[in-house]
Protein backbone atom coordinates (compact mmCIF):
# COMPACT_ATOMS: atom_id res chain seq x y z
CA UNK A 1 0.00 0.00 0.00
CA UNK A 2 1.06 3.59 0.03
CA UNK A 3 4.03 3.95 2.28
CA UNK A 4 2.65 6.04 5.16
CA UNK A 5 6.18 7.46 5.43
CA UNK A 6 5.31 10.86 6.83
CA UNK A 7 7.09 13.50 8.86
CA UNK A 8 5.86 16.78 10.24
CA UNK A 9 7.75 20.05 10.75
CA UNK A 10 6.70 23.08 12.73
CA UNK A 11 7.16 26.15 10.59
CA UNK A 12 6.74 29.85 10.95
CA UNK A 13 5.98 31.29 7.56
CA UNK A 14 3.47 32.24 4.96
CA UNK A 15 2.44 31.01 1.56
CA UNK A 16 0.58 32.33 -1.43
CA UNK A 17 -2.71 30.63 -2.22
CA UNK A 18 -4.51 32.04 -5.26
CA UNK A 19 -3.98 35.79 -4.82
CA UNK A 20 -3.60 35.89 -1.07
CA UNK A 21 -0.78 35.27 1.35
CA UNK A 22 -1.81 33.15 4.32
CA UNK A 23 0.03 32.25 7.54
CA UNK A 24 1.44 28.72 7.71
CA UNK A 25 2.51 26.89 10.86
CA UNK A 26 3.10 23.29 9.84
CA UNK A 27 4.45 21.17 7.02
CA UNK A 28 3.76 17.50 6.29
CA UNK A 29 6.59 15.85 4.42
CA UNK A 30 5.93 12.46 2.92
CA UNK A 31 7.58 9.94 0.65
CA UNK A 32 5.13 7.96 -1.43
CA UNK A 33 3.93 7.00 -4.88
CA UNK A 34 3.69 10.09 -7.02
CA UNK A 35 0.37 11.60 -7.99
CA UNK A 36 1.36 13.62 -11.03
CA UNK A 37 5.12 13.84 -11.36
CA UNK A 38 6.52 11.15 -13.63
CA UNK A 39 8.44 8.96 -11.19
CA UNK A 40 7.68 5.94 -9.00
CA UNK A 41 8.05 7.70 -5.66
CA UNK A 42 8.13 11.37 -4.85
CA UNK A 43 8.57 13.76 -1.96
CA UNK A 44 5.52 15.84 -1.13
CA UNK A 45 5.72 19.02 0.91
CA UNK A 46 2.30 20.02 2.16
CA UNK A 47 2.26 23.28 4.10
CA UNK A 48 -0.81 24.16 6.13
CA UNK A 49 -2.27 26.27 8.87
CA UNK A 50 -3.46 24.05 11.72
CA UNK A 51 -6.51 26.26 12.28
CA UNK A 52 -7.81 25.26 8.84
CA UNK A 53 -5.69 22.27 7.84
CA UNK A 54 -7.61 21.11 4.76
CA UNK A 55 -8.41 24.33 2.91
CA UNK A 56 -5.14 26.04 3.77
CA UNK A 57 -2.91 23.37 2.24
CA UNK A 58 -0.28 24.43 -0.24
CA UNK A 59 1.31 21.34 -1.74
CA UNK A 60 4.19 20.56 -4.05
CA UNK A 61 5.28 17.15 -5.29
CA UNK A 62 8.87 16.68 -6.48
CA UNK A 63 11.18 13.84 -7.42
CA UNK A 64 13.58 12.57 -4.72
CA UNK A 65 16.48 13.97 -6.77
CA UNK A 66 14.83 17.39 -6.83
CA UNK A 67 14.31 17.21 -3.07
CA UNK A 68 18.00 16.49 -2.52
CA UNK A 69 19.01 19.32 -4.82
CA UNK A 70 16.71 21.75 -3.02
CA UNK A 71 18.06 20.64 0.35
CA UNK A 72 21.61 21.29 -0.88
CA UNK A 73 20.69 24.67 -2.32
CA UNK A 74 18.87 25.72 0.86
CA UNK A 75 21.98 24.85 2.86
CA UNK A 76 24.14 26.87 0.47
CA UNK A 77 21.75 29.82 0.61
CA UNK A 78 21.61 29.72 4.41
CA UNK A 79 25.38 29.59 4.63
CA UNK A 80 25.73 32.54 2.28
CA UNK A 81 23.17 34.47 4.31
CA UNK A 82 24.99 33.75 7.53
CA UNK A 83 28.23 34.88 5.90
CA UNK A 84 26.62 38.21 4.98
CA UNK A 85 25.15 38.77 8.46
Amino acid sequence: MCTMISEKADVKGSGKKSNNWIPLDSCDIYYDHSTYVDCEHSITLSFKNELNPIDSRITVEITPESAKDIMDKITIALNKGNHIS
Binding site: M1, M4, D28, H33
Partner: protein
Protein backbone atom coordinates in the same frame (compact mmCIF):
# COMPACT_ATOMS: atom_id res chain seq x y z
CA UNK B 1 -15.70 -7.54 -20.68
CA UNK B 2 -19.42 -7.41 -20.09
CA UNK B 3 -22.58 -8.90 -21.54
CA UNK B 4 -24.03 -5.75 -23.10
CA UNK B 5 -24.93 -5.73 -26.75
CA UNK B 6 -25.44 -2.57 -28.76
CA UNK B 7 -29.21 -3.00 -28.90
CA UNK B 8 -29.55 -3.35 -25.11
CA UNK B 9 -30.93 -0.54 -23.01
CA UNK B 10 -28.28 0.77 -20.63
CA UNK B 11 -28.90 3.03 -17.68
CA UNK B 12 -27.47 3.61 -14.27
CA UNK B 13 -27.78 6.12 -11.50
CA UNK B 14 -24.76 7.36 -9.63
CA UNK B 15 -25.06 9.72 -6.70
CA UNK B 16 -23.87 10.69 -3.26
CA UNK B 17 -25.94 9.12 -0.49
CA UNK B 18 -25.88 9.39 3.29
CA UNK B 19 -25.47 6.07 5.09
CA UNK B 20 -24.93 4.82 8.60
CA UNK B 21 -21.75 3.14 9.69
CA UNK B 22 -22.43 0.08 11.85
CA UNK B 23 -21.26 2.24 14.77
CA UNK B 24 -24.13 4.67 14.10
CA UNK B 25 -22.10 7.49 12.53
CA UNK B 26 -23.58 9.09 9.43
CA UNK B 27 -21.14 9.30 6.55
CA UNK B 28 -21.34 9.88 2.81
CA UNK B 29 -21.02 7.18 0.20
CA UNK B 30 -21.00 7.12 -3.59
CA UNK B 31 -23.61 4.72 -4.92
CA UNK B 32 -23.95 3.52 -8.51
CA UNK B 33 -26.50 0.96 -9.64
CA UNK B 34 -28.27 -0.21 -12.78
CA UNK B 35 -31.64 1.38 -13.48
CA UNK B 36 -33.04 -1.83 -14.91
CA UNK B 37 -34.93 -4.38 -12.82
CA UNK B 38 -32.94 -7.38 -11.67
CA UNK B 39 -31.24 -9.13 -8.80
CA UNK B 40 -27.82 -7.58 -8.74
CA UNK B 41 -24.90 -8.55 -6.52
CA UNK B 42 -23.29 -5.83 -4.42
CA UNK B 43 -19.71 -4.60 -4.54
CA UNK B 44 -18.43 -2.48 -1.66
CA UNK B 45 -15.38 -0.53 -2.77
CA UNK B 46 -12.76 0.31 -0.15
CA UNK B 47 -10.90 3.38 -1.34
CA UNK B 48 -7.15 3.80 -1.16
CA UNK B 49 -4.96 6.13 0.88
CA UNK B 50 -5.19 8.96 -1.70
CA UNK B 51 -8.80 9.20 -0.63
CA UNK B 52 -12.40 9.16 -1.84
CA UNK B 53 -11.30 10.44 -5.18
CA UNK B 54 -12.39 10.59 -8.80
CA UNK B 55 -10.68 7.29 -9.58
CA UNK B 56 -12.73 5.41 -7.01
CA UNK B 57 -15.94 7.03 -8.19
CA UNK B 58 -15.09 5.89 -11.71
CA UNK B 59 -14.39 2.39 -10.40
CA UNK B 60 -17.78 2.47 -8.66
CA UNK B 61 -19.56 3.38 -11.90
CA UNK B 62 -17.58 0.71 -13.73
CA UNK B 63 -18.97 -1.99 -11.46
CA UNK B 64 -22.51 -0.64 -11.94
CA UNK B 65 -21.96 -0.72 -15.70
CA UNK B 66 -21.13 -4.39 -15.32
CA UNK B 67 -24.36 -5.12 -13.49
CA UNK B 68 -23.51 -4.64 -9.84
CA UNK B 69 -24.87 -2.38 -7.14
CA UNK B 70 -21.67 -0.59 -6.20
CA UNK B 71 -21.13 1.52 -3.12
CA UNK B 72 -18.01 3.31 -1.99
CA UNK B 73 -18.18 4.92 1.46
CA UNK B 74 -16.06 7.98 2.25
CA UNK B 75 -13.78 6.51 4.91
CA UNK B 76 -12.34 10.00 5.53
CA UNK B 77 -15.70 11.69 6.03
CA UNK B 78 -15.02 12.53 9.67
CA UNK B 79 -11.77 14.37 8.84
CA UNK B 80 -13.58 17.25 7.16
CA UNK B 81 -14.46 18.35 3.66
CA UNK B 82 -12.33 19.70 0.86
CA UNK B 83 -10.62 18.44 -2.25
CA UNK B 84 -9.95 14.68 -1.90
CA UNK B 85 -6.18 15.03 -1.97
CA UNK B 86 -6.18 17.73 0.71
CA UNK B 87 -8.45 15.63 2.94
CA UNK B 88 -6.26 12.58 2.32
CA UNK B 89 -3.17 14.61 3.23
CA UNK B 90 -4.77 15.50 6.55
CA UNK B 91 -5.67 11.86 7.20
CA UNK B 92 -2.09 10.88 6.47
CA UNK B 93 -0.84 13.63 8.77
CA UNK B 94 -2.97 12.12 11.55
CA UNK B 95 -1.63 8.60 11.05
CA UNK B 96 -4.48 7.24 8.93
CA UNK B 97 -7.91 6.01 10.02
CA UNK B 98 -8.38 3.15 12.44
CA UNK B 99 -8.94 -0.38 11.21
CA UNK B 100 -11.89 -0.70 13.57
CA UNK B 101 -13.63 2.32 12.08
CA UNK B 102 -13.03 1.15 8.51
CA UNK B 103 -14.55 -2.26 9.30
CA UNK B 104 -17.60 -0.54 10.80
CA UNK B 105 -18.00 1.76 7.77
CA UNK B 106 -17.75 -1.12 5.29
CA UNK B 107 -20.28 -3.19 7.25
CA UNK B 108 -22.62 -0.18 7.21
CA UNK B 109 -22.22 0.26 3.44
CA UNK B 110 -22.98 -3.42 2.89
CA UNK B 111 -26.16 -3.22 4.96
CA UNK B 112 -27.26 -0.06 3.14
CA UNK B 113 -26.91 -1.77 -0.25
CA UNK B 114 -28.57 -5.00 0.88
CA UNK B 115 -31.73 -3.05 1.66
CA UNK B 116 -32.03 -1.76 -1.91
CA UNK B 117 -34.83 -3.43 -3.83
CA UNK B 118 -32.80 -4.91 -6.68
CA UNK B 119 -30.03 -6.61 -4.66
CA UNK B 120 -29.49 -10.37 -4.67
CA UNK B 121 -28.00 -10.13 -1.18
CA UNK B 122 -24.51 -11.33 -2.12
CA UNK B 123 -21.69 -8.90 -1.36
CA UNK B 124 -18.15 -8.65 -2.68
CA UNK B 125 -15.34 -6.39 -1.49
CA UNK B 126 -12.90 -4.61 -3.80
CA UNK B 127 -9.98 -2.58 -2.57
CA UNK B 128 -6.58 -1.37 -3.73
CA UNK B 129 -3.55 -0.27 -1.76
CA UNK B 130 -4.69 0.34 1.85
CA UNK B 131 -8.17 -0.71 0.65
CA UNK B 132 -6.75 -4.06 -0.42
CA UNK B 133 -5.33 -4.54 3.04
CA UNK B 134 -8.65 -3.55 4.58
CA UNK B 135 -10.53 -5.98 2.32
CA UNK B 136 -8.44 -8.90 3.52
CA UNK B 137 -8.64 -7.73 7.14
CA UNK B 138 -12.44 -7.45 6.95
CA UNK B 139 -12.66 -10.92 5.41
CA UNK B 140 -10.74 -12.24 8.41
CA UNK B 141 -12.69 -10.23 10.98
CA UNK B 142 -16.28 -10.81 9.82
CA UNK B 143 -18.28 -13.41 7.94
CA UNK B 144 -20.53 -10.93 6.10
CA UNK B 145 -18.95 -11.14 2.64
CA UNK B 146 -19.04 -13.61 -0.23
CA UNK B 147 -15.91 -12.69 -2.22
CA UNK B 148 -12.92 -10.38 -1.78
CA UNK B 149 -10.59 -8.78 -4.31
CA UNK B 150 -7.36 -7.58 -2.76
CA UNK B 151 -5.22 -5.47 -5.09
CA UNK B 152 -1.62 -4.98 -3.92
CA UNK B 153 -2.56 -4.78 -0.26
CA UNK B 154 0.61 -3.61 1.43
CA UNK B 155 0.97 -4.02 5.16
CA UNK B 156 -1.09 -7.22 5.10
CA UNK B 157 2.18 -8.60 6.43
CA UNK B 158 3.25 -6.04 9.06
CA UNK B 159 6.40 -6.08 11.18
CA UNK B 160 6.25 -5.07 14.84
CA UNK B 161 7.51 -1.56 14.05
CA UNK B 162 4.52 -0.92 11.78
CA UNK B 163 1.92 -1.76 14.43
CA UNK B 164 0.09 1.33 15.69
CA UNK B 165 -2.89 2.08 17.88
CA UNK B 166 -4.99 2.54 14.74
CA UNK B 167 -3.59 -0.56 13.04
CA UNK B 168 -3.08 -2.88 16.02
CA UNK B 169 -2.93 -6.26 14.25
CA UNK B 170 -1.07 -7.54 11.22
CA UNK B 171 -3.86 -8.92 9.01
CA UNK B 172 -1.82 -11.94 7.91
CA UNK B 173 -1.90 -13.24 11.50
CA UNK B 174 -5.69 -13.62 11.11
CA UNK B 175 -5.52 -15.74 7.95
CA UNK B 176 -7.08 -18.78 9.65
CA UNK B 177 -10.27 -16.74 10.10
CA UNK B 178 -10.66 -15.73 6.43
CA UNK B 179 -14.33 -16.33 5.68
CA UNK B 180 -14.63 -15.67 1.92
CA UNK B 181 -12.91 -16.61 -1.36
CA UNK B 182 -10.02 -14.28 -2.14
CA UNK B 183 -8.59 -12.98 -5.43
CA UNK B 184 -5.21 -11.29 -5.03
CA UNK B 185 -3.61 -9.11 -7.72
CA UNK B 186 -0.01 -7.99 -7.35
CA UNK B 187 2.83 -6.44 -9.33
CA UNK B 188 6.18 -8.15 -9.02
CA UNK B 189 8.05 -4.82 -9.00
CA UNK B 190 6.07 -3.54 -6.00
CA UNK B 191 7.93 -2.63 -2.82
CA UNK B 192 4.83 -2.58 -0.60
CA UNK B 193 3.99 -5.43 -0.69
CA UNK B 194 7.28 -6.92 -1.79
CA UNK B 195 7.21 -10.27 -3.63
CA UNK B 196 8.57 -11.89 -0.44
CA UNK B 197 5.65 -10.49 1.56
CA UNK B 198 3.21 -11.77 -1.07
CA UNK B 199 4.90 -15.19 -0.72
CA UNK B 200 4.37 -15.09 3.04
CA UNK B 201 0.75 -14.02 2.56
CA UNK B 202 0.17 -16.85 0.08
CA UNK B 203 1.91 -19.50 2.19
CA UNK B 204 -0.42 -18.77 5.09
CA UNK B 205 -3.44 -19.08 2.80
CA UNK B 206 -2.13 -22.45 1.61
CA UNK B 207 -1.37 -23.68 5.12
CA UNK B 208 -4.89 -22.80 6.19
CA UNK B 209 -6.45 -24.41 3.11
CA UNK B 210 -8.20 -21.21 2.04
CA UNK B 211 -10.06 -20.64 -1.23
CA UNK B 212 -7.82 -18.14 -2.99
CA UNK B 213 -6.20 -17.28 -6.33
CA UNK B 214 -3.22 -14.94 -6.72
CA UNK B 215 -2.10 -13.36 -10.00
CA UNK B 216 1.33 -11.78 -9.93
CA UNK B 217 2.33 -9.63 -12.88
CA UNK B 218 5.82 -9.09 -14.25
CA UNK B 219 6.62 -5.61 -15.49
CA UNK B 220 4.16 -4.05 -13.03
CA UNK B 221 4.54 -2.44 -9.65
CA UNK B 222 2.24 -0.82 -7.15
CA UNK B 223 -0.98 0.68 -8.51
CA UNK B 224 -0.62 -0.76 -12.00
CA UNK B 225 -4.37 -0.29 -12.67
CA UNK B 226 -4.24 3.46 -11.89
CA UNK B 227 -4.52 4.76 -15.44
CA UNK B 228 -4.11 8.37 -14.36
CA UNK B 229 -0.62 7.85 -12.94
CA UNK B 230 2.83 6.85 -14.21
CA UNK B 231 2.27 3.53 -12.39
CA UNK B 232 -0.22 2.36 -15.04
CA UNK B 233 0.57 -0.79 -17.02
CA UNK B 234 -1.97 -1.28 -19.77
CA UNK B 235 -1.71 -5.00 -20.56
CA UNK B 236 -1.46 -6.09 -16.94
CA UNK B 237 -4.34 -3.81 -15.98
CA UNK B 238 -6.66 -5.10 -18.70
CA UNK B 239 -5.92 -8.68 -17.72
CA UNK B 240 -6.47 -7.88 -14.05
CA UNK B 241 -9.89 -6.33 -14.73
CA UNK B 242 -10.91 -9.47 -16.60
CA UNK B 243 -9.83 -11.55 -13.61
CA UNK B 244 -11.85 -9.31 -11.28
CA UNK B 245 -15.06 -9.63 -13.27
CA UNK B 246 -14.66 -13.39 -13.82
CA UNK B 247 -14.13 -13.86 -10.08
CA UNK B 248 -17.14 -11.81 -9.01
CA UNK B 249 -19.30 -13.42 -11.71
CA UNK B 250 -18.43 -16.84 -10.34
CA UNK B 251 -18.77 -16.03 -6.65
CA UNK B 252 -21.69 -13.60 -6.60
CA UNK B 253 -24.04 -14.65 -9.38
CA UNK B 254 -24.00 -18.44 -9.16
Amino acid sequence: MNDYKTHDYEGLIAETVSMKSSNGDKINAYLAKPLTEGNYPIIVLIHHLPGWDELYKEFTRKFAHHGYIAICPDLYHREGNGSPDDVAAEVRSNGGVSDKQVIEDILGASEYAKHLSNSNGKVGLFGTCSGGRHGFLIGCSTDNFDAIVECWGGNVVMDDASITEKQPISPHSLTASLSAPLLGLFGNDDVSPTPDQVDEHENLLKENDKDYVFHRYDGAGHGFMYYQTPLYRQQQSLDAWEKVFEFFQDKLRS
